[in-house]
Amino acid sequence: MILKRRQIFPIIGFAPALLWRQRAQAADPAGFVRQVGDQLIGVINGPGAMADKRAQIRQIIDRFVDVDGIGRFCLGRFWRLATPQQRQDYLALFHQVLVTSISGHLGEYKGVRYTLGRVSPHDDTVWVDTTIFRPNNPQADVQWVIASVDGGQKIEDLVVEGTSLRLTQRSDYAGFLQHNGDNVQALIDAMRRTLTKASEG
């Protein structure tokens, strides 16, 4: 079929608009945070036992958070010292640590809500400001650090009242390793013990 000029122009004119739309969707950090936030809050405020909620929170985290990247960052220079088996054990435990941490920060607060604020670029990441309201607690400013990982958007860090979750976690592990002869296996065992304790209590 041969298109007449009259018919081609609208197509050409429309193409950039289509492309632009796709790009806007791919890089809409506020929309991304709203999507993740609404899902998390839906689980937290919804019915069900804490164990079920944890499983659902775990699904959301595995899908939207760069857990392996954060895990490697938190181990710092000890990542290179770890054996392949230790790396694998560590990352598997780290997934659970993040779930426990997020559930601990939010999970027990039925009635939690949040508001979205400013979106600002920071180096190669985008920060989305939110304010979180938890019953019985003062409101907290939380920034979501969004990075592009493998073409998609992933959460790389949460900055709670100016304190980075992953930086704090890294200091925690560094402190522990310093007092346990830089032994990565001791860290893995301690992570396992703490997780067992947390799931019991």
């Binding site: 220079r77 640590v97 426990t100 941490s101 601990g104 920060h105 938890r134 019953p135 019985n136 607690n137 003062p138 009242e161 100016g162 304190t163 980075s164 930086l167 704090t168 890294r170 200091s171 925690d172 592990y173 560094a174 402190g175 522990f176 310093q178 007092h179 830089d182 860290l187 301690a190 992570m191 703490t194 304790k197 947390a198 209590g201």
Partner: protein
Amino acid sequence: MSRWLSPVALLLALPLLAALLAACAPRPPADDKEALADYRQTNDPLEPTNRFFYKVNDQLDAVTLKPAAEAYRYVLPDGARESVHNMLVNLNDPTVFFNDVVEAEPRRAGDTLMRFLINSTLGIGGFFDVAKHWGYPNHDADFGMTLGLYGVPPGPYLFIPILGPSNPRDLAGFGVDIADWPFTWMVNGTTVYALEWAYYGLNAVDVRSRVLDSLDQVQKTALDPYATIRSLYRQRRESQIEAIRNDHRATVPAWFPAPATQAE
């Protein structure tokens, strides 16, 4: 009552006690470059002493401040606790104002002045934060931050008995803020002492009650709570100073009539 029994004197004596008991952390060997870099970054040469005081503080807290804060949260509803918090914030506003001025931040100083005037009167002694809704939001300022803004480095980490995490810069700032708080200089008298103690006591309970859940979380999940709190304290202070640095709001408020653009 002797002036030596005032809360101010006691709080200032604590760092001296800490200095007397100081012990040093072993420095890693020079050939272990990464360990040495960690050591420098942690900047905690007094770590053994700090850890000792952290432990003492933690055990004291568990039987004093923590149960008090829990009881406080149990007895008073959200709104009432918020009002008490507002009142305490309002009492501290003269210090915030002093620091805003020294920081050469006129917009922030204006906010604080308006907050103190509005909340002390219409807010009934500060119990209600009316000013917040009128466009004068609350912000932090203390002399430690002011020094930080002028480029003074924090220095090595310190854990002070009762006061908690600090560093030489913030500790010096704490001392200056006691001096620039007008209520410190009120005429001597038993009532004033009692009120001072009540203020410091209530402030401690208020602050503790606001971090009950967060600190519980740290103590439950951290492998090294001491190192976690050290990191949290540093990051928090740095972000507070950064917030002042990034406050680029115009000094002229929106309601002020704009100057004529062009004379005919």
